[in-house]
Symmetry: C2
Subunit: 216 residues, 2 copies
């Protein structure tokens, strides 16, 4: 059984939890609250020097970081990870796009506006840039989804899961998706998948559940 270090409200962590749910893969979830510095302890940094979640223990004492790398690892051999050379390359293309175009814009806005108390005031200088780059990424996605149901291989893959992670919370951090009908239709398409779970879902209630609600 996998051991996954993640944070409930992190989009990057949610990607992995969503993939594991879709795959019906059992795992043990260990909540790491990065807002409280729990990913910066000596113990956690020994596991992942980048100090980030999600982190998957893939073998005894061997850890894999980076949400999108973890997605490929857990999905290999399933329909979520295309085997065809071009399909696989196109899925990867969208996942790299997600990490440099969507995650640093929508993901950053979500973190500071939706998760960090008082974050909006701390990041006023960056907000305009996030909005501009986030909408640019959403336009590229909308353009693709006008003529495709999914991002690669003609069916749901790890690329959709990667992009769903932050796109589905864009409306929680100032982004208005009303002008992106194809993106909204794709979000619903992902949500209709068998075994889909929402970001709030957890395989076992975290010990600090009340704290999470109080802080969010």
């Amino acid at each position: 059984m996998y051991k996954l270090y993640s944070m409930q409200r992190s989009g990057n962590s949610y990607k992995v939890r969503l993939a594991l749910a879709l795959l019906s893969a059992p795992y043990q979830a260990i909540e790491v609250d990065i807002l409280r510095g729990e990913s910066r302890t000596p113990d956690f940094l020994a596991k992942n020097p980048s100090g980030q979640v999600p982190l998957l223990e893939v073998a005894d004492g061997r850890y894999l970081a980076e949400s999108n790398a973890i997605l490929w690892y857990v999905a290999i051999g399933t329909s979520l990870a295309p085997e065809d050379r071009i399909d696989r390359a196109e899925a990867l293309q969208w996942m790299f796009f997600e990490q440099h175009a969507l995650e640093p814009s929508v993901g950053a806005a979500y973190f500071w506006l939706a998760l960090v108390r008082g974050g909006r005031d701390l990041q006023t200088h960056a907000l305009e840039d996030w909005m501009e780059r986030g909408y640019a990424a959403l336009r590229v996605m909308e353009n693709h989804l006008k003529t495709h149901d999914y991002f690669a291989a003609g069916h749901l893959t790890v690329a959709d899961i990667a992009l769903y992670g932050y796109t589905h919370v864009a409306n929680q951090c100032d982004f208005d998706l009303s002008g992106y009908p194809s993106v909204r239709a794709w979000l619903k398409r992902v949500e209709r998948q068998p075994r889909f779970v929402s970001m709030a879902w957890t395989p076992d209630a975290p010990a600090n559940d009340e704290d999470l609600v109080a802080e969010a």
Copy 2:
């Protein structure tokens, strides 16, 4: 033969040219000068709606974007693309790290300080952030390379090529690598590979070679 749209001085484009050289793969290079808007023409946007290079034509009229996805595509079946499940996941891990930690910091600094004339004055507000995040990424790399010759699989892979792209020009955009001896040793290790080519190398002299020199 591959058809590659790239810009000579772009680190992301160079990654692909370096991989193709190491693999002795013949290709036709088409220079696209993004500084002159050549990636924003209707013709180019029809090939890649993101308006970015590098772009590889993988079949007639079918294009693959994102440097790191292209690296996997061209390297599949060679030692540059590890097949073992954990090795492959770790190579991917470092390539996603490259796209969200190194490319938006060192890559952005390189673009504005080394390529765009007057770019330093345009980006004074961002420079401090790039330096802080760039050094953070370099520390993570240094820490790994203290005990590893390469980033994944114990030998040169696409992960090394991805990270080499911008790390080797960090000294051209204010980063001081003197405190990163393991990173510097790894740069040399990459450069000693058979068939290694520098960023300046080109398979066929571009038509606007003199212009490039004049503008750089």
